[in-house]
Symmetry: C2
Subunit: 296 residues, 2 copies
Amino acid sequence: MNIKSYLAKKKAIVDKALDKLVPPAKTFPASVHEAMRYSLFAGGKRVRPILAIAAAEALGAKTSDLLPLAGSLELIHTYSLIHDDLPAMDDDDCRRGRPTCHKVYGEAIAILAGDGLLNMAFEVLSDPRRTKAVSANRLLSIISEIGAASGVHGMVGGQAVDMESEGKDIDFPTLEYIHTHKTGALIRASVRVGALYAKASEKSLKALTRYGERVGLAFQIADDILDITGKEDEIGKDVGSDLKKGKKTFPGFYGLEGSRLRANEVADKAIHSLRDFDRKADPLRELAKYIVNRVN
Amino acid sequence: MNIKSYLAKKKAIVDKALDKLVPPAKTFPASVHEAMRYSLFAGGKRVRPILAIAAAEALGAKTSDLLPLAGSLELIHTYSLIHDDLPAMDDDDCRRGRPTCHKVYGEAIAILAGDGLLNMAFEVLSDPRRTKAVSANRLLSIISEIGAASGVHGMVGGQAVDMESEGKDIDFPTLEYIHTHKTGALIRASVRVGALYAKASEKSLKALTRYGERVGLAFQIADDILDITGKEDEIGKDVGSDLKKGKKTFPGFYGLEGSRLRANEVADKAIHSLRDFDRKADPLRELAKYIVNRVN
């Protein structure tokens, strides 16, 4: 299979679904709606929704009814980017080659756009018009899964430790905590949301969860490498921004070459988690490779 | 009935429930857990959870299984206070007589504490260990209700318009929009959550919704009056802070005396919405009076 054309096809489907989930930019109050859409449609790769879709496909499920649920993962991812970029947090002016949300709309509206997107994820997940094909009990499991990944036991906790660690000489377990919580939790949840939607058996859910954890780690190592080696016009933000902020990242412990080896090793392990799956899991296998070899 | 002892009793029950919902302050990462608890246990009156409880009681329901759901309303209310107080928003240093969250923990952790509380509301609402007595379908309705009140169609939208209106000579419909969204939406939702939990008939739900809308409006008018006439040590924040920020409030349109009359009129209408309810709705009736006559 050709992973690039698979990704392009799925991204188009996800983008269309997201466009339906979020009110038009001119909806009153326009500032916050515009800001939400500005960040949501800033050229994201839609890795999380696509992981959910590919996991459901690996189990042989049709995915049209999964789209609103998969979209909600992107709403949450985008909220976290907007808040993480704020001056009080990572203070980033540029993301995906464009000024960050608060640079365009001001801090107040950026905070509210993030809040609005986070809320909207749960509005979508509990909206009977969007989710009627999914049983109430499964929806609650999915809401619980996403809430746990997004909240203080997940992304919020990871970002808090990341904030506290800036400029400090952190140890490897602390870096691992930041990685598994700030990035890993929602990636793991994305795979699990697809699996829960597709009524995975306990055994399949376990294997996919392992896959999700490994892919999440590989993704973050690759991100840390790209922060050093990436081309600015490709990654869309300042190269070396972690270093400038005094953030110790994966290459700080393992070196660049060691980090590359580790990323590939972890991606191989992710693929190995899928050993009992048939060809329908090929997109997941290719995604694991893509995630470590991407250039942005 | 004695509304003050009713409120004190219910507040103690809600506080105990909230203490169980939120992890201990020393939970890793401690900063964000501490900040969440700092703002959550800052002496709030628990008006929203108590409205939910009183609505369920008005319908004859037992409320022990409602407590986590009612508590989630307070988690969302507290998140909104933390974010509204931020320097980029209302820039308030003092709330309930104590320094605001960001003054104590810094802006980054305050933003994250707000995010954490908002997320936690949905984690609680979808947590089978906490909500097993409520059917999955009813839980989804309740999540949808709270999400709509909290998000861009509710509180977030209201705060966005409030932000955009600072220092501007707004018209009365704009003030009404701010009121019904920023404060009114969650108060209305609180009453409806109690009603949905108690399996209200369509007719009862409609009456309680009207009650909630009117009580929400009365609450906000009273708030605007208190910002002018309140005693600093009673309301716990600077008197006249709306005025200082150039915010036009209810008394700016109706005058102080006119606002007092209007608040009482709206509270009477709220009580009138309950005309088909028996004595079990007395706490709701007394709450409507209390809300306009409170001193903080």
